[in-house]
C-alpha cells in the first residue's frame, strides 16, 4: 500500500514538473514573431509521417541511421511495457498483462531483444563519440555541456535497459522458485543469460527485481524531466517541427510584408499602407525571429549533419549551422530566465547577434541550403542567418564593405557591378 502511494506521488510529481517546464518552453517559443504554417494540412501530415516517423532523411548516413533506428523502435515499443509498469504501480498488481498468455510472452520476448539492441546501439554511440571521436562530434561549438549532455543520455539509456533486463532476470528466477506474487508470465530470451549473476535467495531476488523496477520507472520519469534541459528534446519536438516545416522550394526566401508596404508607398504615392506595426527589420534578438525558428532551436539534436555539409565550415570558416541553432536556443533560455526573474520588460543588454552569433559567421553563408537538406528533421538554420543579415543590413547598415558596394551598384545602376544600364544590351553586338 505504501509503495502504491509512493508510486502515485512520484508519478504526479514527475508529470507536474514536466508540464511546468514544458509550458515554459512553449512560452519561450511564443516569444517569436507570428508565422503562418496552417496551410496544406494533408501535405504537412505526410511530411511528418515520412520525415519524423519514417526517418527518411536519416538513411543518407546508413550506419548511424541503423543504430538510431534500433534505439527509436526500442524506445517506442518498450514504452508499452511502461504502460504495464504504470498500472502495476498504481494498483499494486504484478505483470497485469500476463494473462494475455502467448501474446504477452511474445511481447516481453521482443522487448528483451529490443532492449539488448538499444543497449548495444548506445554503447556503439558512446564509442563513436568518445573513442573514435568522429569529426561531427568534435566541433568547436561542442563544448563541455553539449558533450556531457550526449553522454548522459546514452549512459541513462544503457542503465535503463540494463535495469529492464535485470528486472526480468530476477522475475524469471522468482517465478522458477514459485515465489508468492510472481505469476508465471513472459518469456525471457535475453535476460536468461543474466541468471547466474543474480542471488539465489528469494529475498535477494525480490530486492533486485523491485530495485530494478523502481529504478526503471523513476529513471524514465527523470529522463522525461531531463528533456527540457537537453538536446534530446527532439524525441517530442521532431513531430511538430516536421509538421510545421517549410514546404516551399528551399530557394524561396520570405518576402517581408512590412517592407512591401513601404516600397509600394514609395513607388505609388497614392498607396496608403495599412497601419504599420512597430518592429524591427530582421533579427537582433530571439524575439525578432519567428516561432518556427525558435521551435527549430528546441528541436535540434546537435547531430551536426548540417555543419558536416556546410561549404563554409568545410573550408575552415567560423560558420557552423549547428552553432546557429544552439546559440538561438541558449539565448532563448536566457531570455526566458530573465522573464522569470525580472518580468517581461526587462532587458539584459545582450542580443543574439554579437553576444551569441558573430557577424563573421553570418557573412560566411553561401545560402546553398546544404544544411536544411541535411537536417533529418527539417530544421532551417538558413532562415535564422537571413534574419540576422537583414537586421545587420537594414537596421544597422553594417555589411562587409564589398557587399555595401554591391548594394550601391544595384541601387544606382541596376546591376551588382559598376556598369552603365545603357551598356546592358551590348552583349548582342560584341563577339
Amino acid at each position: 500500500m505504501i509503495s502504491q502511494i509512493l508510486f502515485i506521488a512520484i508519478t504526479i510529481a514527475a508529470i507536474a514538473l514536466f508540464s511546468f517546464n514544458l509550458k515554459k518552453v512553449i512560452r519561450n517559443i511564443k516569444l517569436g514573431r507570428p508565422a503562418d504554417r496552417s496551410d496544406q494540412p494533408a501535405k504537412r501530415l505526410m511530411t511528418m509521417v515520412k520525415v519524423a516517423l519514417g526517418q527518411t532523411k536519416m538513411v543518407v548516413r546508413p550506419i548511424p541511421a541503423a543504430l538510431h533506428f534500433v534505439v527509436y523502435i526500442g524506445f517506442v515499443i518498450i514504452n508499452i511495457e511502461v504502460l504495464e509498469i504504470m498500472i502495476d504501480g498504481i494498483f499494486g498488481t504484478h505483470r497485469i498483462f500476463g494473462g494475455l498468455g502467448s501474446v504477452y510472452n511474445f511481447l516481453i520476448g521482443s522487448f528483451e531483444f529490443l532492449a539488448m539492441g538499444v543497449w548495444l546501439a548506445c554503447a556503439v554511440f558512446l564509442i563513436r563519440r568518445n573513442i573514435l571521436k568522429i569529426k561531427r562530434f568534435t566541433a568547436r561549438e561542442l563544448t563541455i555541456w553539449p558533450k556531457s549532455d550526449a553522454n548522459y543520455i546514452l549512459i541513462t539509456e544503457i542503465l535503463l535497459m540494463s535495469a529492464f533486463l535485470f528486472m526480468n532476470a530476477a522475475d524469471a528466477k522468482l517465478q522458477l522458485l514459485g515465489a508468492h506474487h510472481y505469476v508465471n508470465a513472459g518469456s525471457f530470451p535475453v535476460s536468461q543469460y543474466l541468471h547466474h549473476l543474480l542471488p539465489d535467495t528469494e529475498s535477494g531476488l525480490i530486492l533486485v527485481e523491485r530495485g530494478c523496477w523502481w529504478f526503471h520507472i523513476i529513471g524514465i520519469f527523470a529522463f522525461l524531466n531531463y528533456l527540457p534541459y537537453s538536446k534530446h528534446f527532439h524525441i517530442l519536438f521532431a513531430f511538430p517541427n516536421t509538421y510545421f516545416s517549410n514546404l516551399e522550394p528551399k530557394g524561396e526566401f520570405t518576402n517581408m510584408q512590412s517592407v512591401t508596404n513601404e516600397v509600394k508607398a514609395m513607388l505609388d504615392p497614392s498607396f496608403t499602407p495599412p497601419e504599420a506595426e512597430v518592429g524591427r527589420f530582421g533579427a537582433k534578438d530571439v524575439n525578432d525571429l519567428s516561432w518556427v525558428n525558435l521551435m527549430n532551436a528546441y528541436t535540434c539534436t546537435e547531430c551536426g549533419r548540417c555543419t558536416a555539409v556546410c561549404p563554409a565550415n568545410l573550408t575552415g570558416k567560423l560558420l557552423s549551422p549547428r552553432k546557429i541553432m544552439m546559440d538561438t536556443r541558449d539565448r532563448m533560455e536566457e531570455v526566458g530566465k530573465n522573464i522569470d526573474k525580472h518580468g517581461t520588460d526587462f532587458s539584459d543588454g545582450k542580443s543574439l547577434i554579437d553576444d551569441y552569433i558573430l557577424r563573421e559567421e553570418i557573412w560566411a553563408c553561401t545560402s546553398c541550403n546544404a544544411c536544411t537538406e541535411a537536417c533529418p528533421i527539417n530544421i532551417d538554420p538558413l532562415a535564422i542567418i537571413t534574419e540576422v543579415r537583414r537586421y545587420a543590413v537594414m537596421e544597422e547598415s553594417q555589411a562587409p564593405s564589398s557587399i555595401s558596394a554591391m548594394l550601391g551598384n544595384i541601387e544606382n545602376n541596376g546591376a551588382p557591378w559598376k556598369y552603365s544600364p545603357s551598356d546592358r544590351f551590348n552583349w548582342a553586338k560584341e563577339d
Binding site: G251, N255, L314, G316, C368, L407
Partner: protein
C-alpha cells in the same frame, strides 16, 4: 563556336511596336549581360532559340537586376524595389513565360515575384533545352562531337537543392553520347561553388581554403575533359578553380547552353 552573333536579337519593345508578341521572354540577367564569360552563354542561348525557331525577345536595356543578391545579403528594401520595378515592366509587356540564363534569376522570379504581383511560367535554360530535346526540335548533330568525352556536371544550388531541378541539365548532356561522371557530392548533396548568398561580391571570410578549390578538387578527381555548369556564378568560380589548379589546358568549363550550341554547330 561561341563567336560573333550573326542573328538579330529582338527586344520586347521592338516586337510590341511591330504588333507582335513573343512566345517567351529570355531573361538574360546581370552576369549574362555584363560578364564577358557569361555573355558567351547568353549568345549561345539566343542561337539555340533562333535555331529552333522559337519566337522570343529580351528586355535589352529595360532589364534590371532581379534583386537576388540584395535579398540574400539581407537588403529586403532594395530587393523589393528592384522586384516591383521589374514586375511593372514584365506585366506592362504582358509577359507569360520566361526563360532565364541564371539559376538565381530563375529562383527569384519563379518563387519570390509571385508574392509581389509578378506571376509567370519560369524555366531555366537547361529546362528549355530538355524540353526541346524531348520535343525532337533539338538534337546533338551537325557540330562538335562530344562522343566519349568525360563530362562532369556541377549542380548549381539555386537550380538543384533550391528548386529540385537535377534531371534537365543531365538530359541535355545525355544526348551527346559523352561519358557522364558524377562527382562524389552531386544532386541534392552537391557542394556549393562558393558564390551563392552574395558571396560572389565579397572576399570569403577567414578560413583554410576557398570553397571553389574544394569543389574543383572534387571535380578533377573524376578526370573530366569538361566540367559542365548551369550558372554564370558557378562558371566564374569553377573556371577560377581550374586556373588555380593549372588545369585550364586540360579541362574546359562550359555552360550546358554552350555545349548544346557546339554540338549543334550553332
Amino acid at each position: 563556336m561561341s563567336g560573333k552573333l550573326n542573328i538579330e536579337v529582338p527586344t520586347m519593345a521592338e516586337m510590341i511596336a511591330r504588333g507582335e508578341e513573343p512566345e517567351i521572354l529570355f531573361w538574360v540577367g546581370c552576369a549574362g549581360s555584363y560578364d564577358e564569360r557569361a555573355q558567351k552563354t547568353t549568345r549561345d542561348i539566343c542561337k539555340i532559340l533562333h535555331h529552333v525557331g522559337i519566337k522570343y525577345a529580351v528586355l535589352g536595356t529595360e532589364e534590371s537586376c532581379t534583386g537576388d543578391p540584395a535579398k540574400r545579403a539581407g537588403n529586403e528594401f532594395l530587393f523589393q524595389m528592384q522586384a516591383m520595378t521589374n514586375i511593372e515592366v514584365l506585366n506592362g509587356y504582358n509577359v507569360k513565360k520566361i526563360v532565364t540564363g541564371c539559376p538565381h534569376c530563375f529562383n527569384t522570379i519563379k518563387n519570390e515575384y509571385p508574392g509581389l504581383g509578378g506571376t509567370y511560367e519560369v524555366i531555366h535554360h537547361t529546362q528549355l533545352i530538355q524540353d526541346l530535346i524531348n520535343e525532337g526540335k533539338l538534337k546533338a548533330e551537325g557540330g562538335e562531337s562530344f562522343k566519349g568525352k568525360k563530362i562532369t556536371y556541377h549542380d548549381p544550388c539555386y537550380l538543384g537543392r533550391a528548386n529540385g531541378i537535377y534531371e534537365a541539365p543531365r538530359k541535355a548532356l545525355e544526348v551527346l553520347d559523352a561519358q557522364l561522371v558524377e562527382m562524389k557530392r552531386c544532386k541534392s548533396n552537391g557542394l556549393c561553388c562558393g558564390a551563392g548568398g552574395a558571396q560572389m561580391f565579397k572576399e570569403p571570410e577567414k578560413g583554410n581554403k576557398d570553397i571553389n578549390i574544394e569543389r574543383i578538387e572534387e571535380a578533377l578527381e573524376t578526370h573530366p575533359n569538361i566540367i559542365a555548369a548551369g550558372c554564370p556564378f558557378c562558371m566564374t568560380m569553377l573556371s577560377d578553380g581550374v586556373k588555380m589548379k593549372d588545369q585550364n589546358q586540360n579541362v574546359q568549363v562550359l555552360d550546358i547552353a554552350e555545349i548544346t550550341a557546339r554540338a549543334n554547330g550553332l
